[in-house]
Symmetry: C2
Subunit: 357 residues, 2 copies
């Protein structure tokens, strides 16, 4: 079944987003940061974290759930550690400042951790880990999110998709880059299967509403996403929750709001880690060793049904190269939502081409 | 089918292990460290990392694959970072020293990372994360291992079970404690299903020898363990490999030996992280917040078929409380192997009780 999309050039999509974000009252430099972080996700093919988030962000901004003027403040700084209060500012604005802090602290102390409370959705974690990596550090980024997944053996939602992300210096734009939710899949994939009329989803994706594992798409749609691989994904989600919320003094588990909850601040927590590889070996040598490791993975014969072995990040770089040239396809559903959002802020959408994919 | 076990008191098992370890030429304090780390795994019910490892360790020691006199050396120390060369010493001896370093460096710098090359098997990662946690820090421990799992879409083994481990200050002996391989299960579980005559294993555990997913126990036995949840577990295993081997300058992927490879040093890498929570908030407050988070998980109604919601570490503390009182059951197969090892070092095994479980 061919799905209907629109196709738009990256720069045109960025300009459209900028007009909307500035239209709701965000200053131009902060609007540019927000637009860039979402555009990068679309370019990388991670559309769940691309411009479709604007609909939620702008709603939060209009409902005054998010403080457009806040940039947060340092609560404490000590050695390689910092506690930061986001002051309910735009997630990307807070994260950009905190990544600058983690870079500075890691360069001064060898490694650093900034734990952040009272922030908002920061887009894709990769954008921030890459920012840290471009400074010559191993960059890591974590955040919590609306509670959707149950604890293992439980039937009530308690933990978000709580991603783990790591980017490498030397090749932050082309190299190994991990950015993964600690649920097997995001709830969006289950929604997509449901709306596409697929009767079954793979084992391990979801529970029904009673907390029983299911492959029935309709039951999963009303149910909950499963922690990655079962109880281990639950443990990883807790690891993230500890770094971003227990340590930050912020909202945790069911205290957290969400991008789809329009009545209160998201109160998300973040954590950023930087590791100065030059303290271990010259950066060039580290980059060569990374290349060697990646080469060892790719030297494996492909399994039946596959042409090649990939490493984390590779599908996204391929998408980016292609979409920079060919433009970005957005589903007509997402585009229609963006048009609604544009009307709210008196912005005229650009004329776009329709395509089938 | 009742399995046959022997039952032995913890202190008696420790004394037996000590005689064997000293019998192969390890000094008493180092032998005590080694025995304690393995005993703790047995007490916690993690028998795969308990005394059964002694058979492999002592073989490596007798084959001179491991240097019994080496304790390793600091290659470089800078801010909160350290590069350590294990000098092919006993993994537990090297790890104990490196945990002391990470504690010292984290207390001085807020957080610290020690990356270690040229070491040997360090037992269960939890033992080291707990040691760091007892100093009032969040403790993390990682290591690589013999390549068993293929990269995603590949059919040749390239990555070990590469565990991720995190322990909490305030309650390192009773609280939340994550210690998980980044494969769905350890190869030992597949072996156990095979030797118990179970025809099928769960989906997601294994590939056959061609790299095709299988639930056929016999095919899995000749095959490979699957990364946790598929490509995400592959990403997590790489994350660990980067921290322990790319950053340490040590052996990576297929360059690594293994406990079951008797002809060369294991060349394992480790990484230890300490985070000084007192830089973020008083330790008591942190411990209360952890308790609050754990309570939020346990407040969920149990899913059908379960009586309660557990958190990571809980099954192991229950095992420890029970085994400290009732004694430690070891399978007769493992006990027979230990008897063989004891003969090699002229130690007489203790008389033990046989039981069915």
């Amino acid at each position: 079944m061919a799905e209907q999309y629109i196709l738009i050039a990256a720069q045109e999509l960025r300009a459209y987003a900028l007009r909307m974000i500035e239209g709701v009252g965000v200053t131009p430099p902060q609007a540019a940061l927000l637009a860039d972080s979402l555009l990068e996700a679309n370019l990388r093919g991670v559309d769940s974290h691309g411009m479709q988030l604007l609909n939620f962000y702008i709603e939060h901004m209009q409902m005054k759930c998010m403080d457009l003027t806040a940039t947060g403040s340092v609560v404490s700084e000590s050695g390689g550690t910092m506690l930061y209060d986001g002051g309910n500012g735009i997630g990307q604005v807070v994260s950009d400042l905190c990544c600058d802090h983690v870079i500075r602290l890691a360069q001064a102390n060898g490694m650093a951790l900034v734990s952040v409370r009272n922030s908002n959705h920061f887009g894709a974690a990769a954008y921030w880990a890459q920012k840290i990596a471009r400074a010559g550090l191993i960059g890591m980024a974590f955040c919590n999110a609306s509670p959707l997944a149950p604890p293992w053996q439980g039937k009530e939602p308690r933990l978000g998709t709580n991603p783990i992300c790591m980017a490498m210096p030397g090749a932050p734009e082309t190299g190994w880059l991990l950015d993964m939710a600690t649920t097997t899949v995001a709830m969006g994939k289950i929604f997509k299967a449901y709306f596409s009329g697929e009767p079954a989803i793979p084992t391990g994706w979801a529970f029904d509403a009673d907390g029983v594992q299911t492959t029935d798409t309709a039951k999963a749609f009303k149910g909950m996403p499963m922690p990655l691989g079962g109880y281990k994904g639950y443990g990883l989600a807790m690891m993230v929750e500890i770094l971003v919320s227990v340590l930050s003094g912020g909202a945790m588990s069911t205290e957290v709001g969400g991008v789809r909850i329009r009545t209160r601040p998201m109160a998300y927590g973040h954590a950023f880690i930087g590791i100065d590889v030059a303290r271990f070996m010259p950066l060039d040598e580290f980059a060569q060793r990374m290349e060697h490791l990646v080469g060892m993975m790719k030297s494996s014969q492909p399994a039946p049904g596959f042409d090649e072995v990939l490493v984390a990040g590779e599908p996204e770089w391929r998408s980016k190269r292609k979409r920079l040239v060919d433009g970005i396809p957005l589903s007509k559903g997402v585009w229609a939502e963006l048009e609604k959002t544009a009307r709210l802020v008196n912005v005229t959408p650009p004329v776009v081409q329709e395509i089938s994919l």
